[in-house]
């Protein structure tokens, strides 16, 4: 059900562009106004969400992450999985962000022979998401040849590696193909594994369909339904230098691609995609486990009025003495 709603939503987005570039002639809206609005929504939205998260206090260090915590000198501690220093935390965060280390520990549980319960390595999700995120990043970085003038030679280096197959003309970029393959796998996984299908919502399917739409329209545009890339770059550079223009004769497929990208980024701050910023604020990833070395005071503690034993004795010393209760101070 969720999948159907999400799929229809993406189809509607494409139809909006077809109608907008066709009869309605809304090229300026689709090519200039919506991209600008998207940029503002994305930037402010992400910052707002992060600040909002920053306002909720995190009282305690979480020592129960995988790995032995630092305690006695003769117990070997796990410096990356349960770090007690900032350097260790940076290492753990780096591994998490760049290599999805906690996903690497993913296991699946199953009953074997009807009665033996066992956990098994499950690396497909890790591999699929690693392939997806890295290829997405590389595709995005390669796009900067359309967003920059002049283009730095680092981008040419990336293109040279990415296009090493030298198939056809324009040459195939491996990362674009891997992106489409990996995101399709991630979608397929949600359909195929019953437990995962059960917990999947429209908000899980929608970004997947959207990214499939983006990758598909991009690949169609580069290899099949060609557009005039010089005009496309003219439009983009117009946006970036605040002199917007709509060159004539860029194919509809470009506007579809652009609109789906805008939809993705405008949706970003309101969605689970915020895990991009959220990973940096995860208490199990960003807090050093130094509870044994440092005292952490609960940040929402209010001053409690206490009555210490010394004060109590002070108040009742006479009576205590009469009742022959031992006192500390005579």
């Amino acid at each position: 059900m969720g999948a159907i709603v999400a799929f229809i939503a993406v189809i509607i987005l494409v139809l909006i562009v077809l109608a907008g570039t066709g009869a309605a002639n809304l090229h300026f809206l689709l090519g200039v106004i919506i991209p600008y609005l998207t940029f503002v929504t994305f930037t402010i939205g992400v910052a707002y969400r992060v600040v909002k998260w920053g306002r909720s206090p995190v009282p305690f260090r979480i020592p129960t992450t995988a790995g032995q915590q630092k305690s006695l000198s003769w117990i070997k501690d796990s410096k990356l999985d349960n770090p007690s220093t900032t350097t260790g935390v940076i290492g753990r965060m780096g591994l998490e962000v760049l290599l999805f280390r906690s996903l690497f520990r993913n296991t699946s549980s199953k009953l074997y022979n009807g009665s033996i319960f066992a956990h098994k390595w499950e690396k497909w999700l890790w591999m699929g998401s690693l392939a997806f995120h890295w290829s997405f990043l590389i595709v995005l970085i390669r796009h900067f040849r359309l967003f920059m003038a002049p283009v730095p030679s680092l981008l040419h280096l990336i293109e040279a590696f990415d296009g090493f197959l030298q198939i056809g003309s324009p040459g195939i970029f491996v990362s674009g193909i891997i992106l489409l393959g990996a995101v399709s796998y991630l979608l397929f996984r949600r359909f195929y594994i019953p437990q995962v299908r059960y917990i999947s919502l429209t908000s899980d399917y929608f970004p997947l369909f959207l990214i499939i739409g983006i990758a598909l329209s991009g690949i169609l545009m580069r290899y099949f339904i060609k557009v005039d890339v010089v005009s496309a770059k003219e439009l983009i550079m117009g946006l970036l230098t605040f002199k917007p223009i709509i060159p004539k004769g860029i194919g509809v497929i470009f506007y579809i691609h652009l609109f789906l990208v805008c939809a993705l980024f405008a949706y970003f701050p309101f969605s689970k995609l915020m895990h991009m910023a959220g990973v940096f604020l995860s208490p199990t990833r960003n807090l050093a486990n130094n509870s044994r070395m440092k005292r952490h005071v609960n940040p929402w503690n209010y001053p409690v009025k206490v009555h210490t034993y010394e004060e109590y004795e002070e108040d009742f010393r006479g009576k205590m003495k009469t009742a022959k209760i031992p006192v500390e101070k005579e």
Partner: protein
């Protein structure tokens, strides 16, 4: 806000990354390239026409070249009949570059703008240009 000392620098880095394309291009007026058609071969043409329409060539010339290459190298067929009915010999050096002998002001002017570097010239010989 808690941990402002870490969150605010993080947000500043985020803002710097997303606004990068804006300030990188600030003040640089990079004009859309105007490929020059002032070669002797094109001047001699009665109708100034490419092998296909200009709009088609702009978007599809790389695919056309690929078709030509496959047709010549794989099928040994080197006659191309354009949609205007004219016949052309399918050759990068002897057809395209005969008319567009100003590679630097033609092919390269666009390619520099969109930052593509066709590797064709690793093997194929670019026309000699007196200028530059």
């Amino acid at each position: 806000m808690h941990d402002a000392g870490k969150i605010i620098p993080g947000l500043i880095i985020f803002a710097a990354i997303v606004t990068f394309p804006f300030y990188y291009n600030m003040g640089k007026a990079v004009e859309r390239p105007e490929p020059k058609l002032d070669t002797p071969a094109i001047q001699e043409l009665k109708e100034k026409q490419c092998v296909e329409s200009k709009e088609f060539m702009r978007a599809n010339h790389m695919q056309l070249l690929n078709q030509w290459r496959d047709a010549v190298v794989r099928d040994g067929n080197n006659v191309y009949i354009g949609s205007n009915g004219k016949k052309y010999t399918m050759s990068l050096q002897n057809t395209c570059m005969k008319c567009h002998s100003n590679k630097k002001n033609f092919c390269d002017s666009c390619h520099k703008y969109v930052a593509v570097r066709p590797y064709c010239w690793d093997c194929h010989i670019a026309p000699k240009e007196s200028k530059l």
